[in-house]
Amino acid sequence: MERFYEKLAEVMDVDAVKESDVLAEFPEWDSLTALSVIAMIGAEYGVDLVAADLKNAGTARALCDLVNSKRQAVK
Protein backbone atom coordinates (compact mmCIF):
# COMPACT_ATOMS: atom_id res chain seq x y z
CA MET A 1 0.00 0.00 0.00
CA GLU A 2 3.07 2.30 0.03
CA ARG A 3 2.13 3.87 -3.31
CA PHE A 4 -1.49 4.42 -2.26
CA TYR A 5 -1.10 8.17 -1.70
CA GLU A 6 0.76 8.62 -4.98
CA LYS A 7 -1.96 6.81 -6.88
CA LEU A 8 -4.59 8.83 -5.08
CA ALA A 9 -2.88 12.09 -6.06
CA GLU A 10 -2.57 10.94 -9.64
CA VAL A 11 -6.20 10.04 -10.05
CA MET A 12 -7.33 13.20 -8.22
CA ASP A 13 -5.14 15.31 -10.48
CA VAL A 14 -3.34 17.05 -7.58
CA ASP A 15 0.39 17.34 -6.78
CA ALA A 16 0.35 15.29 -3.60
CA VAL A 17 -1.97 13.80 -1.00
CA LYS A 18 -0.91 13.58 2.65
CA GLU A 19 -2.26 11.10 5.21
CA SER A 20 -4.05 13.83 7.12
CA ASP A 21 -5.70 15.43 4.07
CA VAL A 22 -9.49 15.36 4.04
CA LEU A 23 -10.41 14.28 0.52
CA ALA A 24 -13.63 16.25 0.28
CA GLU A 25 -11.75 19.47 1.12
CA PHE A 26 -9.70 19.45 -2.08
CA PRO A 27 -11.08 22.03 -4.54
CA GLU A 28 -10.79 19.30 -7.20
CA TRP A 29 -13.13 17.00 -5.28
CA ASP A 30 -16.48 16.22 -6.89
CA SER A 31 -18.56 13.18 -7.79
CA LEU A 32 -16.44 12.55 -10.87
CA THR A 33 -13.25 12.50 -8.80
CA ALA A 34 -14.97 10.19 -6.33
CA LEU A 35 -15.82 7.76 -9.14
CA SER A 36 -12.25 7.90 -10.40
CA VAL A 37 -10.94 7.08 -6.92
CA ILE A 38 -13.42 4.21 -6.54
CA ALA A 39 -12.41 2.85 -9.95
CA MET A 40 -8.68 3.08 -9.09
CA ILE A 41 -9.18 1.26 -5.78
CA GLY A 42 -11.24 -1.43 -7.53
CA ALA A 43 -8.67 -1.96 -10.26
CA GLU A 44 -5.51 -1.72 -8.12
CA TYR A 45 -6.64 -3.38 -4.91
CA GLY A 46 -9.69 -5.43 -5.89
CA VAL A 47 -11.83 -3.65 -3.30
CA ASP A 48 -15.30 -2.39 -4.18
CA LEU A 49 -16.24 0.84 -2.43
CA VAL A 50 -19.30 3.03 -2.79
CA ALA A 51 -19.35 6.84 -2.79
CA ALA A 52 -20.60 6.85 0.82
CA ASP A 53 -17.44 4.97 1.92
CA LEU A 54 -15.29 7.85 0.68
CA LYS A 55 -17.48 10.42 2.39
CA ASN A 56 -17.44 8.50 5.68
CA ALA A 57 -13.69 7.83 5.55
CA GLY A 58 -12.81 11.53 5.63
CA THR A 59 -9.02 11.55 5.53
CA ALA A 60 -6.72 9.86 3.05
CA ARG A 61 -5.29 7.80 5.91
CA ALA A 62 -8.73 6.55 6.94
CA LEU A 63 -9.44 5.59 3.34
CA CYS A 64 -6.14 3.72 3.12
CA ASP A 65 -7.02 1.83 6.32
CA LEU A 66 -10.47 0.99 4.97
CA VAL A 67 -9.02 -0.43 1.77
CA ASN A 68 -6.48 -2.42 3.78
CA SER A 69 -9.09 -3.88 6.09
CA LYS A 70 -11.34 -4.86 3.18
CA ARG A 71 -8.40 -6.52 1.44
CA GLN A 72 -7.62 -8.52 4.57
CA ALA A 73 -11.26 -9.56 4.83
CA VAL A 74 -11.12 -10.90 1.27
CA LYS A 75 -8.00 -12.92 1.96
Binding site: D13, D30, S31, L32, A34, L35, S36, I38, A39, G42, A43, D48, L49, V50, A51
Partner: protein, 355 residues
Protein backbone atom coordinates in the same frame (compact mmCIF):
# COMPACT_ATOMS: atom_id res chain seq x y z
CA UNK B 1 -31.26 -17.45 -14.07
CA UNK B 2 -29.92 -19.09 -17.21
CA UNK B 3 -31.49 -19.43 -20.63
CA UNK B 4 -30.48 -21.57 -23.56
CA UNK B 5 -31.67 -21.44 -27.16
CA UNK B 6 -30.72 -23.03 -30.46
CA UNK B 7 -31.73 -22.35 -34.08
CA UNK B 8 -32.27 -18.64 -33.56
CA UNK B 9 -30.63 -15.64 -35.17
CA UNK B 10 -30.75 -11.93 -35.75
CA UNK B 11 -31.01 -11.56 -39.53
CA UNK B 12 -31.01 -7.78 -39.87
CA UNK B 13 -30.40 -4.66 -37.84
CA UNK B 14 -31.26 -1.02 -38.53
CA UNK B 15 -30.44 1.93 -36.29
CA UNK B 16 -32.42 5.17 -36.47
CA UNK B 17 -31.07 8.39 -34.92
CA UNK B 18 -32.47 11.92 -35.00
CA UNK B 19 -30.52 14.16 -37.40
CA UNK B 20 -30.43 16.81 -34.66
CA UNK B 21 -26.95 16.71 -33.05
CA UNK B 22 -26.03 18.76 -29.98
CA UNK B 23 -22.57 19.21 -28.57
CA UNK B 24 -21.46 19.03 -24.97
CA UNK B 25 -19.34 22.17 -25.29
CA UNK B 26 -22.34 24.21 -26.46
CA UNK B 27 -24.46 22.93 -23.58
CA UNK B 28 -21.91 23.45 -20.79
CA UNK B 29 -23.31 26.90 -20.05
CA UNK B 30 -26.58 25.29 -18.90
CA UNK B 31 -24.79 23.53 -16.05
CA UNK B 32 -24.00 25.20 -12.77
CA UNK B 33 -20.40 24.03 -12.73
CA UNK B 34 -17.05 25.70 -13.47
CA UNK B 35 -16.22 25.18 -17.15
CA UNK B 36 -12.90 23.52 -16.26
CA UNK B 37 -14.69 20.83 -14.28
CA UNK B 38 -17.15 20.26 -17.09
CA UNK B 39 -14.30 19.89 -19.58
CA UNK B 40 -12.69 17.34 -17.30
CA UNK B 41 -15.98 15.45 -17.22
CA UNK B 42 -16.13 15.53 -21.02
CA UNK B 43 -12.63 14.10 -21.29
CA UNK B 44 -13.08 11.34 -18.71
CA UNK B 45 -16.57 10.23 -19.67
CA UNK B 46 -16.08 10.61 -23.41
CA UNK B 47 -18.86 13.15 -24.00
CA UNK B 48 -18.94 15.05 -27.26
CA UNK B 49 -22.00 14.92 -29.52
CA UNK B 50 -25.39 13.47 -28.77
CA UNK B 51 -28.45 13.02 -30.91
CA UNK B 52 -31.74 14.15 -29.46
CA UNK B 53 -35.16 14.74 -30.95
CA UNK B 54 -35.95 18.31 -31.95
CA UNK B 55 -39.49 18.94 -30.76
CA UNK B 56 -42.29 16.62 -29.67
CA UNK B 57 -41.10 13.55 -31.59
CA UNK B 58 -42.40 10.27 -30.13
CA UNK B 59 -41.18 6.68 -29.99
CA UNK B 60 -43.58 5.55 -32.72
CA UNK B 61 -42.33 8.33 -35.05
CA UNK B 62 -38.76 7.00 -35.01
CA UNK B 63 -39.97 3.39 -35.21
CA UNK B 64 -42.38 3.92 -38.14
CA UNK B 65 -39.73 5.90 -40.04
CA UNK B 66 -37.34 2.94 -39.73
CA UNK B 67 -39.99 0.35 -40.63
CA UNK B 68 -41.00 2.30 -43.76
CA UNK B 69 -37.32 2.46 -44.73
CA UNK B 70 -37.12 -1.35 -44.53
CA UNK B 71 -40.37 -1.85 -46.49
CA UNK B 72 -39.38 0.66 -49.18
CA UNK B 73 -35.96 -0.90 -49.69
CA UNK B 74 -37.23 -4.47 -49.80
CA UNK B 75 -35.36 -5.41 -46.61
CA UNK B 76 -38.52 -6.59 -44.83
CA UNK B 77 -41.90 -7.60 -46.21
CA UNK B 78 -44.89 -5.88 -44.64
CA UNK B 79 -46.64 -9.25 -44.26
CA UNK B 80 -43.61 -11.44 -43.55
CA UNK B 81 -43.49 -11.18 -39.76
CA UNK B 82 -46.00 -12.22 -37.13
CA UNK B 83 -44.88 -10.53 -33.92
CA UNK B 84 -43.97 -6.96 -33.06
CA UNK B 85 -42.14 -6.38 -29.78
CA UNK B 86 -41.53 -2.79 -28.71
CA UNK B 87 -39.15 -2.18 -25.85
CA UNK B 88 -39.47 1.37 -24.54
CA UNK B 89 -39.69 3.48 -21.40
CA UNK B 90 -40.98 6.50 -23.29
CA UNK B 91 -44.25 5.24 -24.82
CA UNK B 92 -46.48 7.51 -26.90
CA UNK B 93 -49.29 6.96 -24.36
CA UNK B 94 -49.95 5.10 -21.08
CA UNK B 95 -52.54 3.28 -23.15
CA UNK B 96 -52.73 1.89 -25.82
CA UNK B 97 -49.35 0.16 -26.13
CA UNK B 98 -46.86 1.74 -28.53
CA UNK B 99 -46.70 -1.57 -30.42
CA UNK B 100 -50.43 -1.13 -31.21
CA UNK B 101 -49.78 2.46 -32.31
CA UNK B 102 -47.04 1.25 -34.68
CA UNK B 103 -49.16 -1.64 -35.98
CA UNK B 104 -52.00 0.75 -36.75
CA UNK B 105 -49.87 3.48 -38.32
CA UNK B 106 -48.18 0.93 -40.60
CA UNK B 107 -51.50 -0.81 -41.39
CA UNK B 108 -50.04 -4.19 -40.48
CA UNK B 109 -52.13 -7.37 -40.65
CA UNK B 110 -54.36 -8.40 -37.75
CA UNK B 111 -52.65 -11.79 -37.37
CA UNK B 112 -49.96 -10.12 -35.31
CA UNK B 113 -48.72 -10.51 -31.75
CA UNK B 114 -48.03 -6.97 -30.52
CA UNK B 115 -46.47 -6.41 -27.12
CA UNK B 116 -44.71 -3.59 -25.27
CA UNK B 117 -41.92 -4.37 -22.85
CA UNK B 118 -41.10 -1.74 -20.24
CA UNK B 119 -37.33 -2.09 -20.01
CA UNK B 120 -34.36 0.25 -20.35
CA UNK B 121 -30.66 -0.39 -20.71
CA UNK B 122 -31.09 -4.18 -20.54
CA UNK B 123 -33.91 -3.98 -23.08
CA UNK B 124 -32.16 -5.30 -26.17
CA UNK B 125 -31.13 -8.58 -24.54
CA UNK B 126 -34.52 -8.91 -22.81
CA UNK B 127 -36.22 -8.30 -26.17
CA UNK B 128 -34.08 -10.99 -27.81
CA UNK B 129 -34.95 -13.50 -25.08
CA UNK B 130 -38.68 -12.79 -25.63
CA UNK B 131 -38.33 -12.96 -29.41
CA UNK B 132 -36.52 -16.29 -29.21
CA UNK B 133 -39.30 -17.67 -27.00
CA UNK B 134 -42.04 -16.44 -29.35
CA UNK B 135 -40.35 -18.31 -32.19
CA UNK B 136 -41.24 -21.59 -30.47
CA UNK B 137 -44.69 -21.09 -32.00
CA UNK B 138 -44.88 -22.40 -35.58
CA UNK B 139 -47.31 -19.61 -36.50
CA UNK B 140 -44.61 -17.01 -35.83
CA UNK B 141 -42.12 -16.90 -38.70
CA UNK B 142 -40.23 -13.75 -37.82
CA UNK B 143 -40.28 -11.34 -34.91
CA UNK B 144 -39.63 -7.64 -35.37
CA UNK B 145 -37.96 -6.33 -32.23
CA UNK B 146 -38.01 -2.55 -31.90
CA UNK B 147 -36.03 -0.81 -29.19
CA UNK B 148 -36.81 2.88 -28.97
CA UNK B 149 -36.52 5.72 -26.49
CA UNK B 150 -36.87 9.50 -26.61
CA UNK B 151 -35.85 10.02 -23.00
CA UNK B 152 -34.11 13.35 -23.69
CA UNK B 153 -37.62 14.80 -23.35
CA UNK B 154 -37.61 13.67 -19.70
CA UNK B 155 -34.12 14.87 -18.74
CA UNK B 156 -33.52 18.33 -17.33
CA UNK B 157 -31.04 20.34 -19.48
CA UNK B 158 -29.66 21.68 -16.18
CA UNK B 159 -28.78 18.22 -14.87
CA UNK B 160 -25.13 17.61 -15.65
CA UNK B 161 -25.47 14.14 -14.19
CA UNK B 162 -27.73 12.88 -17.00
CA UNK B 163 -28.21 15.43 -19.76
CA UNK B 164 -24.78 15.29 -21.48
CA UNK B 165 -25.05 11.55 -21.96
CA UNK B 166 -28.69 11.10 -22.95
CA UNK B 167 -29.45 10.19 -26.55
CA UNK B 168 -32.61 9.35 -28.46
CA UNK B 169 -32.68 6.51 -30.96
CA UNK B 170 -34.53 3.48 -32.26
CA UNK B 171 -33.36 0.14 -33.59
CA UNK B 172 -35.17 -2.55 -35.50
CA UNK B 173 -33.91 -6.12 -35.30
CA UNK B 174 -35.42 -8.92 -37.35
CA UNK B 175 -35.25 -12.16 -35.39
CA UNK B 176 -35.94 -15.55 -36.94
CA UNK B 177 -35.12 -19.26 -36.98
CA UNK B 178 -31.73 -20.46 -38.14
CA UNK B 179 -30.24 -23.77 -39.28
CA UNK B 180 -27.42 -23.25 -36.80
CA UNK B 181 -27.63 -25.61 -33.81
CA UNK B 182 -24.89 -23.79 -31.84
CA UNK B 183 -26.33 -23.12 -28.38
CA UNK B 184 -27.05 -19.50 -27.51
CA UNK B 185 -26.57 -18.95 -23.80
CA UNK B 186 -28.04 -16.10 -21.81
CA UNK B 187 -28.39 -15.15 -18.16
CA UNK B 188 -30.36 -12.57 -16.26
CA UNK B 189 -30.78 -11.12 -12.78
CA UNK B 190 -33.06 -8.46 -11.39
CA UNK B 191 -33.18 -6.53 -8.12
CA UNK B 192 -36.25 -4.40 -7.61
CA UNK B 193 -35.03 -3.40 -4.14
CA UNK B 194 -32.63 -1.02 -5.89
CA UNK B 195 -35.32 0.37 -8.25
CA UNK B 196 -34.85 3.98 -7.17
CA UNK B 197 -31.31 4.26 -8.56
CA UNK B 198 -32.81 5.11 -11.94
CA UNK B 199 -36.30 6.51 -12.09
CA UNK B 200 -38.75 9.18 -13.18
CA UNK B 201 -40.51 9.74 -9.85
CA UNK B 202 -43.57 11.68 -11.03
CA UNK B 203 -45.98 11.42 -13.93
CA UNK B 204 -47.32 7.93 -13.22
CA UNK B 205 -50.24 6.99 -11.00
CA UNK B 206 -48.16 6.96 -7.80
CA UNK B 207 -47.27 10.64 -8.11
CA UNK B 208 -49.24 12.39 -10.86
CA UNK B 209 -47.62 15.41 -12.52
CA UNK B 210 -48.52 18.75 -10.97
CA UNK B 211 -46.98 22.23 -10.79
CA UNK B 212 -44.99 20.96 -7.76
CA UNK B 213 -43.52 17.99 -9.62
CA UNK B 214 -42.48 20.32 -12.47
CA UNK B 215 -40.44 22.59 -10.15
CA UNK B 216 -36.66 22.30 -10.46
CA UNK B 217 -34.81 21.14 -7.33
CA UNK B 218 -31.09 20.98 -6.58
CA UNK B 219 -29.81 17.43 -6.02
CA UNK B 220 -27.22 18.81 -3.57
CA UNK B 221 -24.49 18.87 -6.22
CA UNK B 222 -25.73 21.79 -8.36
CA UNK B 223 -27.79 19.62 -10.70
CA UNK B 224 -31.28 21.01 -11.17
CA UNK B 225 -34.08 18.61 -12.03
CA UNK B 226 -37.78 18.20 -11.27
CA UNK B 227 -39.65 15.13 -10.06
CA UNK B 228 -41.06 14.88 -13.59
CA UNK B 229 -37.50 14.36 -14.85
CA UNK B 230 -35.38 11.28 -15.15
CA UNK B 231 -32.99 11.00 -12.23
CA UNK B 232 -30.01 8.78 -11.84
CA UNK B 233 -27.96 8.08 -8.75
CA UNK B 234 -24.72 8.07 -10.72
CA UNK B 235 -22.43 6.58 -8.11
CA UNK B 236 -24.95 3.86 -7.13
CA UNK B 237 -25.32 2.88 -10.79
CA UNK B 238 -21.56 2.91 -11.32
CA UNK B 239 -21.08 0.70 -8.30
CA UNK B 240 -23.86 -1.68 -9.39
CA UNK B 241 -22.28 -2.14 -12.81
CA UNK B 242 -18.75 -2.69 -11.50
CA UNK B 243 -19.91 -5.20 -8.92
CA UNK B 244 -22.57 -7.17 -10.81
CA UNK B 245 -21.50 -7.22 -14.46
CA UNK B 246 -18.07 -8.94 -14.36
CA UNK B 247 -19.32 -11.98 -12.37
CA UNK B 248 -22.34 -12.23 -14.68
CA UNK B 249 -20.09 -12.44 -17.77
CA UNK B 250 -17.78 -14.86 -16.00
CA UNK B 251 -20.76 -17.13 -15.20
CA UNK B 252 -22.02 -16.90 -18.80
CA UNK B 253 -18.65 -17.88 -20.24
CA UNK B 254 -18.39 -20.69 -17.73
CA UNK B 255 -21.81 -22.08 -18.72
CA UNK B 256 -20.85 -21.96 -22.39
CA UNK B 257 -17.34 -23.30 -21.70
CA UNK B 258 -15.84 -20.28 -23.45
CA UNK B 259 -12.84 -18.17 -22.49
CA UNK B 260 -12.61 -14.40 -22.84
CA UNK B 261 -10.31 -14.95 -25.85
CA UNK B 262 -13.01 -16.94 -27.67
CA UNK B 263 -15.25 -13.89 -27.86
CA UNK B 264 -14.64 -11.61 -30.86
CA UNK B 265 -16.60 -8.64 -29.50
CA UNK B 266 -18.07 -7.60 -26.20
CA UNK B 267 -21.02 -5.51 -27.35
CA UNK B 268 -22.24 -3.93 -24.16
CA UNK B 269 -24.78 -1.30 -23.27
CA UNK B 270 -23.10 2.11 -23.55
CA UNK B 271 -23.52 4.19 -20.37
CA UNK B 272 -20.31 6.18 -21.01
CA UNK B 273 -16.73 5.43 -22.04
CA UNK B 274 -15.39 5.60 -18.49
CA UNK B 275 -17.62 2.84 -17.14
CA UNK B 276 -16.98 0.57 -20.12
CA UNK B 277 -13.22 0.94 -19.87
CA UNK B 278 -13.34 0.18 -16.15
CA UNK B 279 -15.38 -2.94 -16.95
CA UNK B 280 -12.91 -3.97 -19.64
CA UNK B 281 -9.99 -3.45 -17.21
CA UNK B 282 -11.64 -5.57 -14.59
CA UNK B 283 -12.58 -8.35 -17.01
CA UNK B 284 -9.16 -8.23 -18.73
CA UNK B 285 -10.77 -7.56 -22.10
CA UNK B 286 -8.71 -5.51 -24.58
CA UNK B 287 -10.42 -2.18 -25.41
CA UNK B 288 -10.55 -2.99 -29.14
CA UNK B 289 -12.82 -5.93 -28.34
CA UNK B 290 -15.19 -3.76 -26.34
CA UNK B 291 -16.17 -0.69 -28.35
CA UNK B 292 -17.13 2.25 -26.11
CA UNK B 293 -17.69 5.03 -28.65
CA UNK B 294 -21.48 5.28 -28.84
CA UNK B 295 -21.94 7.99 -26.20
CA UNK B 296 -19.45 10.38 -27.85
CA UNK B 297 -21.23 10.12 -31.22
CA UNK B 298 -24.90 9.65 -30.35
CA UNK B 299 -25.41 9.61 -26.58
CA UNK B 300 -26.77 6.83 -24.38
CA UNK B 301 -30.12 5.78 -25.82
CA UNK B 302 -30.94 3.20 -23.12
CA UNK B 303 -31.99 -0.12 -24.70
CA UNK B 304 -30.93 1.02 -28.16
CA UNK B 305 -27.20 1.25 -27.42
CA UNK B 306 -26.31 -2.38 -28.20
CA UNK B 307 -27.76 -2.13 -31.74
CA UNK B 308 -26.03 1.26 -32.01
CA UNK B 309 -22.63 -0.12 -31.03
CA UNK B 310 -23.12 -2.84 -33.65
CA UNK B 311 -24.24 -0.65 -36.56
CA UNK B 312 -21.66 2.03 -35.80
CA UNK B 313 -18.65 -0.27 -35.46
CA UNK B 314 -19.37 -3.51 -37.30
CA UNK B 315 -21.59 -2.48 -40.21
CA UNK B 316 -19.23 -3.64 -43.00
CA UNK B 317 -17.88 -6.68 -41.19
CA UNK B 318 -21.32 -8.08 -40.31
CA UNK B 319 -22.57 -7.74 -43.87
CA UNK B 320 -19.96 -10.30 -44.90
CA UNK B 321 -19.05 -12.50 -41.95
CA UNK B 322 -20.09 -13.80 -38.56
CA UNK B 323 -18.57 -12.89 -35.21
CA UNK B 324 -18.84 -14.49 -31.79
CA UNK B 325 -20.51 -11.81 -29.73
CA UNK B 326 -21.12 -11.32 -26.04
CA UNK B 327 -23.95 -8.86 -25.41
CA UNK B 328 -24.69 -7.32 -22.02
CA UNK B 329 -27.31 -4.87 -20.82
CA UNK B 330 -27.59 -3.39 -17.34
CA UNK B 331 -29.66 -0.63 -15.80
CA UNK B 332 -33.14 0.33 -14.72
CA UNK B 333 -34.96 -2.16 -12.51
CA UNK B 334 -32.24 -2.88 -11.61
CA UNK B 335 -31.73 -5.46 -14.33
CA UNK B 336 -28.58 -7.09 -15.65
CA UNK B 337 -28.43 -9.63 -18.43
CA UNK B 338 -26.01 -11.04 -20.99
CA UNK B 339 -25.99 -13.33 -24.02
CA UNK B 340 -23.41 -15.21 -26.10
CA UNK B 341 -24.40 -15.67 -29.72
CA UNK B 342 -23.08 -15.94 -33.24
CA UNK B 343 -23.87 -12.66 -35.01
CA UNK B 344 -23.94 -12.24 -38.80
CA UNK B 345 -23.70 -12.30 -41.68
CA UNK B 346 -26.71 -9.98 -41.59
CA UNK B 347 -29.08 -9.30 -44.49
CA UNK B 348 -28.84 -5.64 -43.55
CA UNK B 349 -26.89 -3.66 -40.95
CA UNK B 350 -27.31 0.05 -41.35
CA UNK B 351 -27.96 3.39 -39.71
CA UNK B 352 -30.41 6.02 -40.98
CA UNK B 353 -31.20 9.55 -39.84
CA UNK B 354 -34.66 10.74 -38.86
CA UNK B 355 -34.96 14.19 -40.44
Amino acid sequence: MNFQFTHRKISGLLGIVPANARSFVDEMANFQFPLQRSLKLKEVMGYDQHRIVDGPICASDLACFGMEHLFRNGLLGRDNFDALLVVTQSPDYFMPPTSSVIQGRLALKHDMFCMDINQGCAGFVIGLIEAFMLLEQPSIRKVVLINVDVLSRKVSPKDRNSYPLIGDAAAIAVVERSADATPIHANLKMDGARREALMIPAGGFREPSSPETAALEDDGENNLRARDNLRMDGSAVFNFVQVEVPPMIEALLETAQWRVEDVDYFLFHQPNRFMLQKLADRMKVPYEKMPSNVVEHYGNSSGVTIPMVIVHNLREQLSRTAVRACLAGFGVGLTWTSMLLPLGPLDFCDLVEFP
